[in-house]
């Protein structure tokens, strides 16, 4: 009951205190080595950046929406707000400083075919909460656009009930002037499925951090993503998947194309907790470096406390295969076109993870748009 829960304001005060005590993440923070936030932003600027505006276009029937800016939030909000996943400092900041945000609820058994699109294009802090009740399903497209300047800091919480299924596609357009941070916490009940794709075309500093808890048997998480970066672009995806219960499954497939002076980061930690037997986790991260000045840092990490588990991970950084390039050119495909073909081919399996055809097409469209920047030879 509401009476037993701390008020929203009390939670925000707690988050503010937590942020004040720990401060800005910097390169000596664990897992912030490749994204030194403190070097480009101070705590005062985070507080001053205010609240980011959001917009949901065409809410499908059956999905309930609540404005977190209003004080009379329903119990589902109060039960989950600030409660899912770890509480890293920037996520606390988004709770402390955002005077708004959006909560979505899909009631039990409702399967929503039409995707919900959430647009965030302004600067500031904002919160998103999605609660999918038992046996419900939803496709959520998060579209991050605009390059208005300093900071966009998004805190996301997702609660998936028994057998609930969320397809989440996060699209972040190139924003070379902006710092874009997002923390996503996901808690999954028995048999729930979280499928997420992260298409990110780079910011001045971009960090997407995930903490996924497979709390009950047969819960699954399938993550994929692509980066196409050029110039000074930066994109860091840091994930932590915890197999809390047995017979849980997770897969990750990330493909990164980095040209110019850009930097692509993947840090994927998997924890299989004691007793989570029969868990199966796979992670693959590959980067294609175009030219000698781009950088990729790929770091898979496994922490296993259970006995009977299957875990596989792989990471590789490389260049375009000269044999393939020669083959295509010897068939008459001009060099630039052959390079594009091979880059698209490299990204193909990761983009194919997006189930919704329209969203897949829009990611390919963005890839086409970003490729000329990535392949451009920089001085």
């Amino acid at each position: 009951m509401n009476a037993a829960l701390p008020s929203r304001e009390a939670r925000r005060a707690e988050a503010l205190e937590s942020f004040r005590v720990r401060g800005m993440p910097h390169r000596r923070f664990e897992h912030w080595k490749y994204s030194d936030l403190r070097a480009v932003l101070d705590a005062g600027q985070v507080a001053q950046s205010g609240t980011a505006a959001w917009q949901v276009e065409k809410l499908p029937e059956g999905v309930e929406l609540f404005d977190l800016g209003k004080l009379d939030a329903p119990e589902l909000v109060m039960r989950n707000l600030g409660a899912i996943g770890a509480k890293p400092t920037m996520k606390e900041a988004s709770l402390a400083f955002a005077d708004g945000g959006v909560a979505l609820r899909v009631p039990r058994g409702r399967k929503i075919a039409e995707p919900v699109t959430l647009h965030i294009s302004s600067t500031g802090n904002v919160r998103l909460l999605a609660v999918l009740e038992e046996e419900s399903s939803l496709t959520l497209m998060e579209s991050h656009t605009g390059d208005a300047g300093l900071l966009r800091n998004v805190g996301v919480e997702i609660a998936l009930g028994t057998q609930a299924r969320l397809s989440h596609v996060r699209f972040a357009a190139s924003a070379p002037k902006s710092i874009t941070i997002e923390h996503i916490g996901v808690a999954e009940a028995r048999g729930a499925q979280y499928r997420a794709h992260f298409a990110n075309f780079g910011s001045r500093l971009s960090r997407t951090e995930l903490h996924i808890l497979l709390q009950e048997e047969d819960a699954e998480a399938h993550l994929s993503g692509v980066n196409v970066l050029g110039d000074e672009g930066h994109a860091d995806l840091t994930s932590h998947i915890e197999h809390v219960a047995g017979n849980t499954r997770s897969t990750q497939l990330f493909k990164k194309v980095a040209g110019g002076h850009s930097r692509a980061v993947y840090q994927g930690k998997i924890t299989v907790r004691e007793g989570a037997n029969g868990s199966d986790s796979r992670q693959t991260a590959k980067a294609l470096l175009l030219g000698g000045r781009a950088e990729a840092d790929l770091k898979p990490e496994l922490v296993i406390f259970a006995d009977d588990v299957k875990c596989a991970h792989g990471a590789a950084v490389g260049d375009l295969d000269p044999e393939s390039l020669f083959y295509l050119r010897s068939r008459g495909v001009p060099e630039a076109e052959a390079r594009h073909m091979l880059i698209r081919a490299f990204l193909e399996d990761a983009v194919a993870e997006i189930e919704n055809e329209e969203l897949r097409a829009s990611v390919w469209h963005a890839v086409e748009h970003a490729l000329p920047h990535a392949v451009r030879v920089s001085p």
Binding site: D321, P322, E323, S324, F326, Y327, L328, R329, S330, R331, G332, V333, P334, E335, E337, A338, M341, L342, R344, A345, F346, L347, E348, D349
Partner: protein, 249 residues
């Protein structure tokens, strides 16, 4: 059509071809034979324009133009085709998409209009049947998971679709059983034409029972050491390379 004069080619600073001279006219099929390491593949790569093959001396003239200064893709558009010994696998690109992209790139370079997807499909299907290249193969990623024979058939299918003026077949025979070999040879023979020249590169004589050459050249130590008609291939089969190849001391 093809005039190679005193060609010297170095790979990684090491000279592989050491003064090769060869002349191929339109409508002719020439076989280049020779033991392993004699420079056969180097010749095929240098004709196709692979990077890292440096011409240090001599010339290659193709239809009166200097081939050596042409970009790889321009050579293809002007009718040079190399059927490779080891066709590469390209995951993420379907065979049909590849064929369409390549065909239209060549047409564009020649100033012809591009073909739409339906026209390409029709053309490919028409040529694919004879080579037993299935619809399923065309939908798969290029060469990925193809058997050796399937890869070679796909190379010949490309030759049938692109209709090159000069086709170079590099060890097309290798890795094929006798039925696959006959099928590939039939495909090649069907493409023999008065306006087309072929260079068949092989170290086995057996292929030449099926693709009968007009001329046979023996390559050893980076240059042509013997030449003759198709009977030379039989002589090599009977007596071995050592008999024909008299290495200069």
């Amino acid at each position: 059509m093809l005039e190679i004069k005193n060609l010297h080619v170095a790979v990684g600073g090491k000279e592989i071809l050491k003064g090769l001279t060869l002349s191929v006219a339109e409508g002719e099929v020439h076989a280049i034979m020779g033991p392993n390491g004699s420079g056969k593949s180097t010749l095929s790569y240098v004709l196709a324009g692979r990077e890292g093959y440096e011409i240090t001396q001599g010339s290659i003239s193709y239809r009166g133009e200097d081939l050596a200064t042409m970009k790889t893709e321009d050579r293809a558009a002007r009718g040079v085709f190399l059927a490779m010994q080891y066709p590469v696998e390209i995951p993420g690109v379907t065979t049909l998409t590849f064929l369409k992209t390549a065909l239209n790139a060549q047409r564009r370079a020649r100033g012809d209009s591009e073909l739409d997807a339906m026209s390409v499909l029709k053309l490919v299907r028409q040529k694919a049947t004879a080579l037993q290249v299935s619809e399923e193969m065309l939908k798969r990623a290029l060469n990925v998971g193809f058997y050796g024979g399937e890869k070679k058939r796909l190379e010949i299918l490309q030759m049938a679709i692109f209709e090159p003026a000069l086709a170079i077949l590099d060890e097309t025979y290798s890795g094929l059983d006798i039925d696959a070999l006959k099928l590939v040879a039939e495909g090649v023979n069907a493409l023999r034409a008065p306006e087309r020249a072929m260079l068949v590169i092989t170290h086995y004589q057996r292929l030449l029972n099926y693709i009968v050459p007009d001329r046979v050249h023996v390559l050893a130590g980076g240059r042509i050491v013997a030449e003759g008609g198709k009977e030379l291939a039989h002589e090599l089969e009977a007596k071995g390379y050592a008999h024909v190849v008299k290495e200069p001391a």
